[in-house]
């Protein structure tokens, strides 16, 4: 072994001997990066935290345990004052006696087509759906983006979990938005 070669520890200690001006410069850069990151969060390029919402969907109490009924669940996305161009979300029931039997589009023309679902993620009671629109006419505020038709066995309420994993504008910028679901009124 060549003893003139610096060891790892020697190398590490040498790294610590940075001139003060360099240290200040590095600190400034780190601050600048943090600031930029924060601003991007405000303008939508950072990923907003994924929110998971738990919702109780009521059901009739006067049906037998083996009776299967059909109902629909509306899925809403509220993008505030931002125009919603793309979204992806997951909806699942905590109960195993629920079957998804159809997926319908939303109320706004931009999302009227039935959204595509992730084939591999599709389960009896779980679905991941997504849609986007390339048009200029886009919804803002709270808008029904999809309707999920389900078959439920037995009586009583079911608990549903919903997650909005992506919401974005036409240029692909992520925007904060809220998801909610509700039983569809016939």
């Amino acid at each position: 072994m060549n003893t003139n070669e610096p060891t790892n520890s020697q190398s590490g200690s040498r790294c610590l001997r940075i001139p003060l001006c360099w240290a200040l410069l590095i600190a400034f850069d780190v601050s600048l990066m943090a600031l930029t990151y924060a601003q991007e969060g405000n303008t939508g390029t950072a990923d907003p935290p994924v929110q998971s919402v738990q919702t109780e969907i009521p059901g009739p109490d006067d049906v037998a345990a083996d009776v299967r009924r059909f109902e629909a669940i509306d899925v809403f996305v509220d993008s505030g004052n931002q125009r919603l161009a793309a979204w992806q979300l997951e909806v699942k029931s905590t109960a195993n006696d629920v079957q998804i039997v159809g997926i319908e589009g939303g109320e706004h023309p931009a999302f009227a087509e039935p959204p595509y679902y992730d084939k591999r993620a599709m389960n009896n009671n779980r679905v991941i759906i997504a849609a986007f629109s390339t048009g200029d006419n886009l919804p803002s505020g709270r808008s029904r983006v999809a309707r999920i038709h389900v078959q439920v066995r037995g009586s009583g309420a079911r608990t549903w979990l919903s997650e909005l994993t992506t919401s974005a504008t036409t240029d692909g910028s992520r925007i904060p938005a809220e998801i909610s679901i509700a039983k569809t009124d016939r």
Partner: protein, 752 residues
Amino acid sequence: MNIFRSRISAVMALCFAATACVFQLGCGQSEQATSESFSRVASSVAKNAANPKPGAVGGQESILFDAMMGSAVDLDININPEAGRQAIPIQGRPTDPSAVSENKGRPVVARATFELMPGEELWVIAKGSNPATPASEETPPGCGALMAKLPDSKKEVPVPLKHTAVVGNIDGYIATVDVTQQFQNPYNSKIEAVYVFPLPDNAAVSEFVMTVGERKIRGIIREREEAARIYNDARKQGHVASLLTQERPNIFTQKVANIEPGKKIDINIRYFNTLQYDDGAYEFVFPMVVGPRYNPPATTDGIGAVGRGNQGVSGQSTEVQYLTPGERSGHDVSLSLNINAGVNIESVRSVNHDVAVKDVTETERSVTLSASDSIPNKDFVLRYQVAGDKIKTAMMTHKDDHGQYFTMMLYPPADLKKVQRSPMEMVFVLDCSGSMNGRPIDQARAAISHAVQSLTPRDTFQIINFSSTASQLGAAPVIATPQNIQKGLTYLNSLNGQGGTEMIEGLKAALDFPHDEGRFRLVSFMTDGYIGSDHDMLNALSDKLGDSRIFSFGVGQSPNRFLMDRMALIGRGAVAYLSLNDDPVEIMNRFNERISHPAMTDLSIDWGNMNVTDVYPQILPDLIVGRPVVITGRFTGEPSSITVGGRQGMQPTSFAVAVDAADASKEHKGIASVWARLKIMDLMTQFSRTPDQAAELQQTVTQTALEYSLMSTFTAFVAVDSMSKTEGEFGTTVAVPVNVPEGVKYETTVEN
């Protein structure tokens, strides 16, 4: 996980499909009536129009009026008030139409006056009981139809399928096809429509959308039994629902429940498939009708062929109802096709239909089916010739969340044409069943006649015919001398079409005799393939094939392409189609060209830097002159050039296949679906041949189909509209009757 990628094309295609749909208004259910009393009725004959079953709601009483010269027919029609609201569809020329009078709770009289010309008939069909409570779910509903038969026209039968709109987009040799079936209830009570229809046997059906009014509901792929249970629950509870099941790889059943009178339900199906390439031309096929299948005695899982209203007569689990030659339905088809061949297109030819072809660019064409040729009684076959010297074997790839896929069309090396074939033992097998009677057998005879006359004295030949049994020219193949050829032609001309289609008998006769070691045995099947027991036939072929090669010729306007294609694949030969509009000499010359040179055999592939798995077909076929082979698989790593090796005669040979660099940036969504469909087909072949592994194979097929959202024998699409709940439990089931294929005789093929 992000599933936005590749949605633009899908959404655009959907929009395109939607705009291409032609919604037809009018349902033949105009509620009209007339006043005025009788002047004269020439004669009347009472008969049952729809073969009512005892106690069935669909039982109808019918009266037929035959007109004398200048007859005026006035009718008083008593309507049973308990039967609910009665619609009186009137077709013909009522002289004094007015609204039907209704009076709930009391008998109602509708009056109509007609003027009939000699030879015209007036049918009055009245329903016998309450349509909302059918005794049999399979009985057609009372439609209260009042129809006049016009001179030189067929009797129009109201059917719940008004229109089928087909929009295809071809990119290279992969087609994306949107099929929209527009159902509409022409009756006066709620119905369930059942339509048995064909699709290409290699169609990877991956999307299903039901449109109720303005609302579109995407169907979900489920295990078949589960989908059927959901559908039946929805149907019984009065919800609009639809179910798509697969009966054969090329035969599907569409059910739509709870269609209220006058209401429309659209079903959109999307599939991908690869096109065949044959001697410089690509071929796009859209089958339009299921030909009448023959089912061996004692079978119940076949495809029955029965007359309209004769549900259950065949005893088969799936039945197609056919219109009589004197009937027609209002169901028609529109079709448009956008072709982007990637190379210059030299010519476009529609084999069976009138089309308009528009040149978009040198490599693109737009094709539209003529409105005057919209009766769905023959396959749409479009062949487009491309600049041959620019066609090269190349690989296309696709990457998605599932992984990476490739597909390539392997073209035989050009120098195959320099080598001459060895002596042949030619066996021609002619289907002489009832469905071949008439023009189909004439075409087949002409083709065999030309092929026999093209043989040389080095060759031997045999002619076998089968219908209910099989017989043949002689005990053994004979040398192709001029005398023997003449003898063969005389025998050929004595054959006619009648009886059943015991195709396995023909197969046995063709393969169950000692092989002449000095000759290459080649068996040519000339048939429409109208059998319901496809898999039994294919299994028998696998068992008996030996060293023989099978060339299958699908004869007629709508042959069973699944059977023909699979026979050729299993038989390591090739398939060709002989439409009634084809020149049999031209088809057989192409056949002779193929068999005049040895194939490149014992294919093997060096995949280079690619780690390749799951290649289909798993057994690589021979490469025959003029007939490339499509190979699809999965891989990891970077796409790279590969080398295909094999033998020409006894000599080893090889050629390289490059990745299509210009294609690398393109997206080919269809490749993954096409691959999964091929995998399923391969597994299903094993399923039918290895019963001891059936459970395991079924599970693998189901898993693959669910993962790729594909139709299969064990999966189905279901869609339920939970928002719409119609009154009553469920409507009467009505099958959509179809025409027998052009050239096929109803009398010799359909059970009544």
